[in-house]
Symmetry: C2
Amino acid sequence: MTARLIAVGVGPGDPELLTLKGARLIREADVVVTPIGDRSETSIAHGIIQDLVDPARQQLLTQVYPMKKDPAEMEASWQASAREVAELVRAGKTVVFITIGDPLLYSTFLYLYRILRADYPDVVIELVPGISSIFAAAAAAGVPLGLAADRIAVLPATFEEEKLRQTLLDFDTVVLMKVHRVFDRVYALLLELGLEHQGVWVRRVGSREEEVVTDLASLVGKKLDYLSLLIVRKQSEAGGGVR
Amino acid sequence: MTARLIAVGVGPGDPELLTLKGARLIREADVVVTPIGDRSETSIAHGIIQDLVDPARQQLLTQVYPMKKDPAEMEASWQASAREVAELVRAGKTVVFITIGDPLLYSTFLYLYRILRADYPDVVIELVPGISSIFAAAAAAGVPLGLAADRIAVLPATFEEEKLRQTLLDFDTVVLMKVHRVFDRVYALLLELGLEHQGVWVRRVGSREEEVVTDLASLVGKKLDYLSLLIVRKQSEAGGGVR
């Protein structure tokens, strides 16, 4: 087996939503790296892999990915993590880096990836997709993401009112990630556009704390979970809006 | 175990990209339904599940989902498929309906789902997400789908020039599904916007015929594979454009 870095998307939380390939590669790895940033995500990632790894045979490594310090500090921290991973691969190890969801969508891995490609081009990188929380949330809520000629937009939590209004007008499905920070303003916009009954909010999909809420008004003014998203789905002719 | 219909997303083609949950539910099912529409997708779906099912113990059913007839004929065909599935569940069977990719994104299952929810509300439906070809293609191409505050759009093959131009201007990543029908016009638009080196085309990801093309000019004028998509990714400050 070639020494390499393998980024494995471990899915949204339910250990059974890991792929067969991800599970195999985690079992076969010499080193399994878990990024630490937000405390909850770390425990989710740990919960997914804990039954697959063997601490007697495999090295379990945690790397800190701070998200609140200044840019230079963050960059230095990512640089150090990249160096650590690169040195393990150069020493002949097969290193699996796990990420919640998918490694190429809003993941910690992308910071490492950029540095490794730029500064350590000899390090072979394999990417293994994972189930994004978007798909798990749609499944939990029973809401189609799109069919036929539907257009879908995925947006982060930042609230740019005009852009968001236009996107809600132009797209059939709009997924708002980490919506907790801006929920009240988003809800006001949905009301204005007559879309307040077309949304479903999902938190911590696949965990014991999973919650699916279609009565969006009940969420206004509350402190919402960091790991939550909102799917706004217009009723299409082919059916399949929010229930 | 409750008799029910379980829609399982089996991923884009590689049998190892099935989830642990999907594999278990396919093995445990009384009946496994494979939808037939496009010939290639059917063989991909069959290839993914063939080692998991036991024809001596399980019923393997194919259902035809025609896509080219008139709407009334299509509707009648979907109605018949829904009735067949509902009757199996009502007879106490656990029925798995497999779909390439994810069941809630551009899948045949969504036609069945609409009818079952409207006309057979007693039939319990479970949804198991799968790896969409979008994520597998991004992994094959090594292209981030989005990080930090990036905005992502997923669009079908229909070519509405003004809408597509605006989407390419407004979003950081644009994924064009089943782009084979309109590729030349899309490429002309990318040229106009100076994005012709920011795209990557992927066909049949995860299969032996997988191909990743970044020299988009080389595809112009050619008859392209039906199972292909184009990811246009702008270079972001955080890095991570198309290589």
